[in-house]
C-alpha cells in the first residue's frame, strides 16, 4: 500500500491503494463511478472499458483498456477517462450517432462501446468504418445489436471530412485531441490534463515480487496479485529497435506496439492483420510479448509467431544475462527455463532473408477474441517453385508451443506441389500429441493442424489451391 496520485476525469485523486486492486472496483466502489459496468471480470466483454492515458517516454498515449484487468498499481500518475468524464459536457457525437442508429437495447454494454469508439477516434490514423469495427473487437452486446452498431459507425465515420480527420492526427495525439475537443467528442479539459501528466514512477523491485506484464492473463487466473513488479514501467524492457542482425523487442512491449511498429510491419507486413485475431484491442494494448512467452500456454499465439521467426531470448537477473533460443525456453507444459527473479529483457528476432514471408493461421470457436483450437505460424521463402526456407510452429497440439521441424524439413525437400502440401500436412499430424479439451477433441486438432499447414502454403502459392482441392476430393472420392 502506498499513496497513489492519479486523475479520474477532471479530478485529481490521491488514495492509498492496494496495487493489485482492479481499477473497475476502484471506480465503482471507491469513486462511485458506476457508469463503468462489470460484465465478466476477465476482459472478454468490454463493459468496463475506460480510456487510460499515461506518459510513455516522450509521448502521452490514451488507450481503451479493460478496467477489470488493470491493476491499480499501474495507475500512479496516469489519467483515467470514464464514461462519466466523456459525457461531462453533454452528448458527444459518438453518443449521438449511436443513439440515432438505435444501438441501445438493454443499455448495459453501451458505455463500453462509447469509450471504445472514442478511443478509436483518438488513435486511428484514418476515419474508416472497418477500422472502427476492429476497434470494437473487445466489446460484446448480448442483445446482439451489431447491425445497428454497424450503422452507427457508418454515420460516425461520415460526420467529418476524412482528410481533415487524418490531417489532425499527423502531428501527434495532442493535435488530434484538440481537433476532437473542437468537435465535442472530448471535453475541453482533456488536452491540458494530458499534457501535464507526469512520468509514471519507476516500479520498485523487491525480493520475491511477481513480475507483471499486462496482467491480462494473471488477473484472469487469480483474483489478486501479491507484491507485483510492473514491467511496463521498467525502461530497460521497453522499445523496439534494430540491433545488428536482429530486431530487438523489449520484454515489456505490448502487442499493439508490436503490431503497429513500422520496424516490424516493414519486415513482416502480414503481422498487422494476423495480430488482430490474437486479442481484442484493449487486450492488445496491455498484453506483452514476453508475458505470452512466460505464460507458456501451448496455444500462445505470440509464442508460435516468435518460434517460427527463429527468435531467441535475452534473460536478465541482476547483472547476469544469458541468451537462449526460444524453442529451448519451453521445457514442458506451462514450464519454462526461467530462474526465480529472472526476466525476459529482450526478444531477438533475426532479420529475415529477403523475400521470405510470415503467415499466421488460427482457428478458434469464434473468429475474434478467442483462444485457438489450433494455431500455426510459418516463415516461408519460396523461390522458383521451391521452398528455400521453411520454419513452422504450431500450438494446441503438444504440451508446449511446438516447432514442426520434420514438416519444415520436408518442405525443403522437393518443389511445392499438391502432393508435397498434402505430405506436409500428414507429417505435421505425425509430429504432434494433442489432447481432448474444451477447445476441441484431439482428433479435430490433428485434422485441423494438417489443414492449417496447407493453409499457409496455399496462401504462399494460391495457384496450388485448385490442384490440392482436386487431389483431395478426387483421390478418395473417386
Amino acid at each position: 500500500m502506498g499513496i497513489s496520485t492519479f486523475w479520474v476525469n477532471q479530478r485529481r485523486v490521491s488514495l492509498s491503494l492496494s496495487p493489485s486492486q482492479r481499477v473497475v472496483d476502484l471506480l465503482r466502489r471507491d469513486l462511485s463511478l458506476v457508469g463503468t459496468k462489470e460484465g465478466c471480470r476477465e476482459g472478454d466483454c468490454g463493459a468496463c472499458m475506460i480510456l487510460w492515458g499515461r506518459r510513455e517516454g516522450a509521448q502521452t498515449l490514451y488507450r481503451s483498456v479493460n478496467s477489470c484487468l488493470l491493476p491499480a498499481g499501474e495507475i500512479d500518475g496516469s489519467h483515467i477517462l470514464t464514461i462519466e468524464g466523456l459525457s461531462a459536457e453533454g452528448t458527444t457525437p459518438v453518443q449521438k450517432a449511436l443513439e440515432e442508429a438505435g444501438v441501445v437495447q438493454c443499455g448495459f454494454c453501451s458505455p463500453g462501446f462509447v469509450v471504445a469508439l472514442t478511443g478509436f477516434l483518438l488513435n486511428s490514423p484514418r476515419l474508416d468504418s472497418s477500422l472502427a469495427r476492429e476497434a470494437l473487437g473487445g466489446n460484446l452486446c448480448r442483445c446482439t445489436g451489431y447491425a445497428s452498431l454497424g450503422r452507427g459507425i457508418e454515420a460516425l465515420c461520415s460526420l467529418w471530412e476524412k482528410g481533415e480527420f487524418e490531417e489532425s492526427g499527423r502531428s501527434g495525439l495532442l493535435a488530434r485531441m484538440e481537433w476532437l475537443v473542437a468537435r465535442k467528442v472530448l471535453p475541453p479539459w482533456v488536452p491540458s490534463l494530458a499534457q501535464a501528466l507526469p512520468d509514471p514512477p519507476p516500479s520498485s523491485h523487491r525480493r520475491g515480487s511477481l513480475p507483471v506484464g499486462g496482467a491480462t492473463d494473471l488477473l484472469v487466473q487469480r483474483e489478486t496479485l501479491s507484491s507485483p513488479l510492473f514491467l511496463s514501467r521498467k525502461p530497460s524492457l521497453q522499445g523496439i529497435r534494430r540491433s545488428g542482425e536482429f530486431l530487438s523487442l523489449g520484454g515489456g512491449v505490448n502487442l499493439e506496439e508490436f503490431r503497429l511498429s513500422p520496424l516490424v510491419t516493414d519486415l513482416f507486413p502480414e503481422l498487422s492483420t494476423a495480430l488482430l485475431s490474437v486479442a481484442s484491442p484493449p487486450i492488445r494494448a496491455r498484453a506483452t510479448l514476453a508475458g505470452n512467452l512466460v505464460n507458456a500456454s501451448p496455444i500462445g499465439d505470440l509464442s508460435l509467431i516468435l518460434l517460427s521467426l527463429g527468435s531467441s531470448l535475452r534473460l536478465v537477473k541482476g547483472n547476469s544475462r544469458r541468451t537462449l533460443p526460444l524453442e529451448r525456453f519451453f521445457l514442458a507444459y506451462r514450464k519454462v527455463d526461467l530462474l526465480p527473479g529472472e526476466l525476459v529483457e529482450r526478444i531477438l528476432i533475426p532479420l529475415p532473408t529477403e523475400g521470405s514471408r510470415l503467415f499466421f493461421e488460427k482457428v478458434s470457436r469464434r473468429e475474434r477474441l478467442d483462444i485457438a483450437s489450433v494455431n500455426l505460424s510459418a516463415l516461408l521463402l519460396l523461390k522458383e517453385g521451391r521452398l528455400e526456407e521453411a520454419r513452422l510452429a504450431a500450438g494446441g497440439v503438444a504440451p508446449v508451443p511446438l516447432l514442426l521441424s520434420k514438416t519444415s524439413a520436408l518442405l525443403l525437400s522437393s518443389p511445392l506441389s499438391p502432393g508435397l502440401i498434402r505430405e506436409a500436412g500428414e507429417t505435421a499430424k505425425g509430429e504432434v500429441t494433442p489432447i481432448d479439451d474444451v477447445r476441441g477433441s484431439a482428433l479435430y486438432k490433428t485434422h485441423l493442424l494438417g489443414r492449417l499447414v496447407a493453409g499457409v502454403l496455399l496462401r504462399l502459392a494460391p495457384e496450388q489451391a485448385p490442384l490440392l482441392e482436386n487431389l483431395v476430393l478426387e483421390e478418395k472420392g473417386g
Binding site: E99, C106, A147
Partner: protein, 756 residues
Amino acid sequence: MDKKFSLAALKGEPLYVVDFPLPEGTLFGAVLPPPVPCGELLSIDPSAALALEGVKAVFTAKDIPGENQVNDLAPDEPFLAERRILHPGHPLALVVAESEEIARRALPLIVVEALGERPVFDPREAALKGRLHAPPEVLSWGEPDKAWEDSFWKIQGRADSGDQEHLYMETQSALALPLPYGGVKVFSSTQSPGGTQKTVARILGLPMHLVTVEAFRLGGGFGGKETNANSWAALAALGARLLNRPLRLSLNRREDMAFTGKRHPYSTDYSLGLDREGRILSYRVLFHQDGGAAMDLSLSILSRTLLHATGAYRVPNGRATGLSCRTDHVPRTAFRGFGAPQAFFAIESALFQAAETMKVPLEELKERNLLREGDTLPYGKTLGKETLPASWKKAKALFRWEETEARIEEYNRSASWSRKGAALMPIHFGIAFTYTPLNQASALVNVYTDGSVSVSTGAVEMGQGVSVKISRAVAETLGIPPSRIRMESTDTSRIANSSPTAASTGADLNGEAARRAALLLKERLLAVAAELLGASPEELLFRRGLLERGGKKTTWSWERVVKEAYQKRVHLSALVHYATPAIWFDGKRERGEPFSYYVSGTALVEVTLDTLRGTFRTDRFQVVHDVGSTPAPEVDRGQIEGAFLQGLGWLTLEESRVTPQGKMITDTLTTYKVPDFSSCPGVVDVRFLEEEEGGVRGLLGSKATGEPPFLYGIAGYQALWKAINAWGRPQPFQGIAPLTNERLLNLLVQREEGKP
C-alpha cells in the same frame, strides 16, 4: 428506443441493481454450491467460515422461516438443499459478510459432507429410466399412422439441438431491505416482479403484502430472469430479514453461468411422410426435452413446442409427443422462443432431409407446404388471412432468390476451398402465454398537477423496448408529447399480480392496459374542458399537448386543463386491467385458440464456408417480417436483427460443456462464446411487411417482435448445411446443433473420405 433512455444509457447513467447506492450497513451475500453434482446431503458445518472476520452468518435450509420451495406449481425444487442435492447449481447455504470478497472467501471454509451419485445428463437415458417431470404430453390430429402408411416418401431421422446460456450482461442480482412490521423490499433484476414477490413471500413465510419487489431496467433477460431471478432475490431477502440489515447478493459471471438454468436441449425423433409431389401427409415427432433436475417452466415450454411442432407448414395428420425428461442438470428455463425454436429445428431438419432424399430444392418443398388461409393447425385452429404467404413471396422477389441460387451454384463450381449456401425460411409464431390465465395485465397512469404523466405497468424493460412502445401508446392516446411521460419501474405495490414479462406479450398486454387507462383519463379531462369551453367532449381533442376544438387550436394547453381538473376534484389517476379476449385452450383435449394472433416472416441467409479450415461467415441476412403497424420501428429492427444473430449463435457457436462429474467447464466468457461483431453478416436487410391486413393484432395494430425472429437462425443453419453438401461426396444430413467449427471440419473430412 426511447431517445432519452438511449442517450442516458450511452452516458452510463441508468442504474442496474449493483449500481444502486447502498444504504448504511449493507451486508453482502455469497452462495455455496454443492460439492457433488447430485446426491445426498449429509451435513454442513459452517464453523470455520463463521470464524472468519467479517462473516456475519451462514444460513442453510433449517433457517428458512417459511416453505423451503422455489416452485409455485409443484413442490419439486427445494430452495436450499435439505437432504437431496438436486443439481450442480443447487444452493446449499448463504454466507453473509461485510463485503463480497469476505463472503466468497468464506465459502470454501464451509465443510460439507455429501454422498455423490452418478448424474444423468442425457434426456434419452432419463426417459428410459422413467424420469419424467410429467406424463408424456401428446398432441394428435388427423390420422397420422394411416397417413404415414399412405406416404410415398417416408423420411425418418433425428434432430438434436443444444442448450444456450442467456449471458445477459447484468448478472443475477438483488438488493433487499428489511422493512418495519417484518416486511421486506427487494430490488431485483427480475423479469417477473410478481413471481419473485410470491417466491420471497413463500420462503419467508410472509403474506405477499409484506413483500415488495421492484425492478428497474434489466441489463438483459432473454427469459433467464423469468423464474431464475427468484432464488437470488429470496436469498437476499432471507438474509436481510434474518439479520435485519440491507443485503446485496450478486452472482459473479462464473457463478451465474454455473448455477442458473439455460435453454432446453432437445433430442427429437421424427417421421415425415409426403406424397409423391412432396405434400406433407403425416408428421410424427417425439421430443425428448432435457428439463433438468426440477420442472421450472419445462412443461409450459414443452406445450409451446407441441403447439409449434408443424413450424410454418400445413400438416394434415400428425402426432407430437413431448417428454419432459428429468436429468440432473441445473433446471432448464425460459429462453427467447420458449420451446418453439426446438420445434422448428425438428421440422425444418425433417424437411431438409426430405429435400435431400427426394432430390428437390428445399425451398420448393417449403413453398409447397406453406401455411395459408383456411389451413387448420394441429390444435384445431383454422387460419384466417395470414401474412405468411405474402412474406414468402416478397422475400423471394425482393432478395432475388432465383438469382441467388444460380449465383451460388456457379460459385460452388469454380471456387476452390470455399463453398456457399443459402436458404429461405418461413416462420409462424403464436403470440400469447400458452397458459391462458397469464394473459392479463394492469396499468396505473398518474397525471400530476403540472401535466407530467407517469405510467406503471407490470412490464419489465430489459432492452426489448416495451417501455418505448407503451409510452408512445399513452402519448398518442392522450395527445401529448412522449417527453411528458415517464415510464416507471415495475413495482408490486403499484401493480399487483403481474404476469412475467415474457412470451413477447409485454407490450400487447401492458400497453393495452396503459392505453385504456390513458383513454379513461383523457375522457375525464375532455369532460372538464368541455364544461369550461361550453363545448361537447366529442368536438375536443388534445394534439401535441394542446386542446383543439373542431380541428382548431384553442388557447388551452394540456397542462391548463389538468390544473382545472384538479381544482374540480377530478381523479387524475387511472388503474386499468386488461385481459386478452377470445383465447382459450383445453389442455386435456389439446384443442383451442391458445394465441391471439401469429407473427410471420421469411428470411434469406447466405453463408460462405471455408472448406479448408472448417469455418464460416454469414454473408447476408435479409428478411421480410410482419410487425403490423408498429409504434416503434427502430425497436423492432433491433429486435429482429439481434434475435437472428442470437439464434444463429445457438445453432453454430454456443455450447456449454459439463464434465461427467457435473463440473461446468464453460463457465466464463473465455470458454463460452457468443456472437460478436465479427459474427455479424456484412449485409443485414430488414424489411417490414407492408400489408394492409385486417385481423387481430396487438397494441395499436402492431405485432410482437421479441421472440419470433430468433427462429431465423435456423435459416443460417440450413444455409451452412447446403454449403457442406456442396463439398466432396454426398453424405446423409444429420440434424445436429450447434454446428461448431469442430463439427464443420468433421463433416467436411467425412465428405472428402466418402465415409461418415
